[in-house]
């Protein structure tokens, strides 16, 4: 009986495998201008399985905002100029070359000829113009739209000929070519109709019939099981080839399993059900390293990430809001010496040790050591000093009562709460450590775990919080994506939101410097400007920087060309080159 059951199981598995046959790559045509990639020669065939924390929300790259959706649709689409995640430099993608005019205001891009979308339809300049029309249309509401505005004015795009497009910028824009990395080029022949009918925003939900989701990426959708997984198969027309002119990608299929949580991701990986983990916490990394299977998998510690975690005090203008309790405490928070004292009392080494299991780095500024191009090395890294902190508080008029409780100059006890997202275990731990650190100064700190959305609402909208631990950064190494945080008018200027005028002289200086670096084209001059920004931030402490985690990733040993990088997407950015060392060659080679 058992044998029969086993046989039945084998038959079923065979059926699953045979059903999973993917299209063979199209032969390379003469007129096709394919991109050649370096890297190990791979083998065709096989599939890899990736566990996702939740189900993606959409396959529409223009309207999506969540990282999980991006993880999937970035495999379906391609951009004009890509940032190579390993080198952090730009490289040609759909544009085979580009030229900037001497005044830095026009970009002329030459597109690859003869390449096709995943349904076989040819690609040309009309698709590029159409895609940027979508991104710039306010009615579509693309979150990336802000990146295409310079001084509030949109860039313009014109078709020069069938394979040439020109972008005109209102004024010079540093590192403008990096901008193109996040903009997927979409098929006009599929999306123009819904766009004209005003239905574009609703297009490409997850349950779209696979033949209608068309792109230029290495994979295309094959099937979607709601609540379970989404299956991608090779795009047989993909425009990249390896050294020996074999069309990529090597893998037949990618499977995204919706597993539910980071712990579930780890358990599935441990059990061998998934092949790759994009981002691991240090605890899970340590756990996986201890396992027997560690020898058969490639666990990688890539060093400090570009994220920064920080404590921010609420310095918002609260007039007109019924938050008297908080505005009274703002007198302390606004005092630079108070913030300096808090910063001096923070035990950053313990954060690195206890929160990140030593797989992290202490931070004193917004740019960490992971960003070698832009970090200001001259920013001091003062040691923790409780004595120094007490001196600062004393000179700012604070006193202590007999029980050691810190009092302000009016005799009020210094007591405040630190809000943090309850779903982020690392930041919860930081808050508990800070609570203990600051208790040595006589400050009474309460840790308030909040639901992530409630937390965002308080910090961005209602301003009903006293201090919060948050994290930012991690997108690109360039300073431009950071504009949002440091410009006083920026949407993520967390400590003082919605400013019409810079509230302080140093914020005004940061505004000037950030705007200037954006139009400076020379790297060394830009670096100098951004160094000064970093210096002001580290002196004025709008954020009290804590630490950054290392990027920790893992993959099964048999995955070849696995090259995790510091930039998102850490592991799948070169999915087109990944291959299985033990793949059965499916007759292709």
């Amino acid at each position: 009986m058992k044998a029969i059951a086993r046989l039945a199981l084998v038959v079923c598995l065979c059926a699953v495998v045979s059903q999973a046959s993917a299209p063979t790559p199209q032969p390379v045509n003469q007129g096709e201008e394919l991109a050649r990639v370096e890297g190990l020669m791979g083998r065709y065939g096989g599939h890899i399985v990736i566990g996702q924390r939740s189900e993606p929300k959409t396959l529409n790259p223009v309207t999506a905002t969540d990282a999980v959706s991006r993880e999937v649709f970035e495999r379906l689409h391609a951009d004009l100029i890509a940032i190579n995640r390993a080198t952090q430099k730009t490289e040609p993608a759909l544009a085979k070359s580009w030229k900037m005019s001497p005044d830095g205001r026009t970009f002329t891009l030459k597109l690859r000829k003869g390449i096709r979308f995943s349904d076989g339809h040819p690609f040309d300049a009309d698709d590029v113009v159409f895609s940027f029309t979508l991104y710039l249309d306010e009615a579509v509401g693309a979150p990336q739209r802000d990146l295409l505005l310079i001084d509030g004015k949109p860039l313009t795009i014109t078709k020069v000929d069938q394979y040439t497009v020109r972008f005109s910028l209102p004024r010079p824009y540093a590192a403008a070519e990096r901008l193109f990395d996040s903009f997927a080029i979409l098929p006009r022949h599929i999306l123009e109709k819904p766009y004209r009918e005003g239905k574009f925003v609703q297009t490409w939900p997850l349950n779209t019939p696979p033949t209608e989701v068309v792109g230029l990426g290495p994979f295309r959708v094959k099937q979607y099981w709601p609540g379970q997984r989404i299956l991608l198969e090779r795009n047989p027309y993909y425009w990249k080839a390896d050294r020996e002119n074999h069309r990529l990608p090597y893998l037949d299929e990618l499977v995204f399993l919706f597993v539910g949580s980071e712990d579930a991701q780890v358990m599935r990986f441990e059990a061998g059900e998934t092949d790759l983990i994009n981002r691991l916490s240090s605890e899970n990394y340590a756990l996986l390293s201890k396992e027997q299977s560690a020898r058969r998998s490639q666990l990688a510690d890539l060093g400090p990430s570009l994220e920064y975690n920080f404590l921010v005090f609420n310095l918002n203008d609260l007039s007109g809001k019924k938050l008297d309790g908080i505005s009274r405490k703002q007198a302390w928070f606004q005092d630079l010496k108070f913030r300096q004292a808090v910063s001096a009392a923070v035990d950053r080494d313990s954060i690195v040790k206890l929160v990140y299991g030593t797989r992290g780095t202490a931070l004193w500024g917004n740019v960490g050591p992971g960003n070698k191009m832009w970090v200001n090395q001259s920013i001091p890294h003062p040691q923790r000093s409780l004595e120094g902190a007490r001196q600062l508080l004393k000179s700012a008029g604070f006193t202590w009562d007999a029980s050691g409780q810190l009092l302000d100059h009016t005799g009020q006890p210094v007591e405040f709460s630190i809000a943090t997202s309850s779903s982020n275990a690392q930041r919860m731990k930081m808050a508990t450590l800070l609570q203990d650190d600051l208790s040595h100064l006589g400050m009474q700190v309460h840790v308030v775990p909040l639901d992530f959305r409630a937390m965002i609402d308080r910090v961005f909208q209602s301003f009903d919080y006293e201090a919060a631990i948050m994290g930012l950064g991690g997108g690109d190494a360039d300073p431009n994506p950071e504009m949002n945080v440091w410009l006083s008018s920026g949407g993520t200027h967390l400590w003082r939101m919605n400013e019409t005028q810079p509230a302080t002289a140093w914020e005004r200086e940061i505004d000037q410097l950030m705007n200037e670096q954006m139009i400076t084209l020379d790297y060394h001059k830009r670096k100098k400007l951004y160094d000064r920004v970093q210096q002001i931030i580290s002196e004025q402490l709008p954020f009290i920087f804590l630490a950054t985690p290392n990027i920790l990733t893992g993959a099964k040993g048999e995955i070849g060309n696995f090259q995790p990088a510091l930039l998102d997407h850490y592991t799948l950015w070169n999915a087109d080159q990944l291959y299985l060392r033990n793949a059965e060659s499916a007759g292709v080679r």
């Binding site: 712990d263 780890v266 358990m267 916490s281 605890e283 899970n284 340590a286 756990l287 035990d347 313990s350 040790k353 206890l354 709460s417 809000a419 309850s422 275990a425 731990k429 808050a431 508990t432 450590l433 609570q435 203990d436 309460h446 840790v447 308030v448 775990p449 909040l450 009903d464 919080y465 006293e466």
Partner: protein, 335 residues
């Protein structure tokens, strides 16, 4: 008679447990908030009798040092276990202060009978201090529940009529509430910034007020049967007032019901507190409770790597089982 012996044993055991928790400051070698940042997730300290210089009568411990793959004992120096040592100061019920602890070892060694948590805090000390919150929450919430239940059940059973019907209608409503979700909802409405004491009192109030329905119905039943007894009619015939009859003749009848209910409710409420704290809705860091100590185990890596952090779960099980046995023993058996 055998039953009486069993009750006595169980009550003594519970009294002992509560006394240890009440005097946590004395029995615990360290303060619950005391972090040793060099010893995160340190395993339980082992006590040795046999050292380099031969056998000792007095057990001793080694200092733990961290290395690449965990912790090892630094065997260069032995630290004897000592009794009635001076340590961090504590107070019992806010009445008297002391800094004497039952046992301890000299610094830099630490004695952590149940290992350490993520911040290098002694799990054993936290277990005892956490028990103060968890057990007190159970006891006080039970008191609140039973007081409410006694009042409502008595009024309902004694006066009957529309009072009875409306009160019992309300109790049915309460019985049908999915109380865990209700508690979570209530907690979410509370202000951001509640002090640990405030949270604790709120927790007791909320847990206590929600469970009154079932005991109130039982009390009502007892009152109903007592009301028709001959001696009640006699007292009434002699002109006894309602209050006199209630306190003198009827309430004593409900005593057995209340006692059994108490033994059932206390462990239930201890678990309720633990559940809420586990989900981050109870008392918050750094104050320990059995629930928020267990919250660390929500993470898979912690659960599979640091088994000693399950100690609060064991404490919860023991408490529940003993109270359950007590309730069983108190339950009047049919003749």
């Amino acid at each position: 008679m055998r039953n009486k012996g069993r009750i006595r044993f169980l009550v003594l055991f519970m009294a002992g447990l509560h006394a240890v928790v009440l005097f946590a400051g004395f029995f615990a070698p360290y303060d619950a908030k005391d972090q040793d940042r060099d010893l995160p997730y340190a395993p339980p300290t082992r006590l040795h009798f046999k050292g380099a210089s031969g056998l000792h009568l007095r057990p001793f411990a080694y200092a733990a040092t961290a290395d690449a793959d965990g912790y090892r004992e630094d065997r260069t120096q032995e630290y004897s276990l000592r009794f009635f040592v001076k340590g961090s100061s504590y107070s019992v019920l806010g009445i008297f202060q002391s800094d004497r602890h039952l046992f301890g070892v000299d610094s830099p060694a630490r004695i952590m009978l149940l290992g350490a948590d993520a911040f290098g805090r002694d799990e054993f000390s936290r277990l005892l201090f956490g028990g103060q919150i968890s057990l007190a929450a159970g006891l006080l919430a039970t008191l609140v529940t039973l007081a409410t239940a006694a009042v409502i059940g008595t009024i309902s059973g004694f006066y009957g009529g529309w009072i009875d019907e409306s009160l019992m209608g309300v109790s049915e409503l309460f019985l049908s509430l999915p109380w865990l979700y209700f508690l979570m909802g209530v907690r979410a409405f509370l202000p951001l910034h509640v002090s640990p004491v405030g949270t604790f009192l709120l927790l007791i109030g909320v847990i206590g007020l929600i469970g009154w329905a079932r005991p109130a119905r039982l009390v009502r039943g007892a009152v109903l049967s007592a009301r028709t007894r001959n001696y009640v009619s006699a007292a009434r015939g002699f002109g006894g007032s309602d209050l006199h009859i209630l306190t003198r003749h009827i309430l004593p009848e409900t005593f057995g019901v209340l006692l059994t209910q108490a033994a059932l409710l206390i462990p239930l409420y201890v678990a309720a507190e633990a559940t809420l704290s586990f989900f981050g809705l109870g008392v918050s860091e750094p104050v320990p409770s059995w629930g928020n100590m267990l919250a660390a185990l929500q993470h898979y890596s912690v659960l599979v790597s640091y088994g000693w952090l399950l100690a609060p779960a064991a404490a919860l099980v023991v408490t529940s089982v003993i109270y359950g046995m007590l309730a069983d023993a108190l339950q009047p058996r049919g003749s």
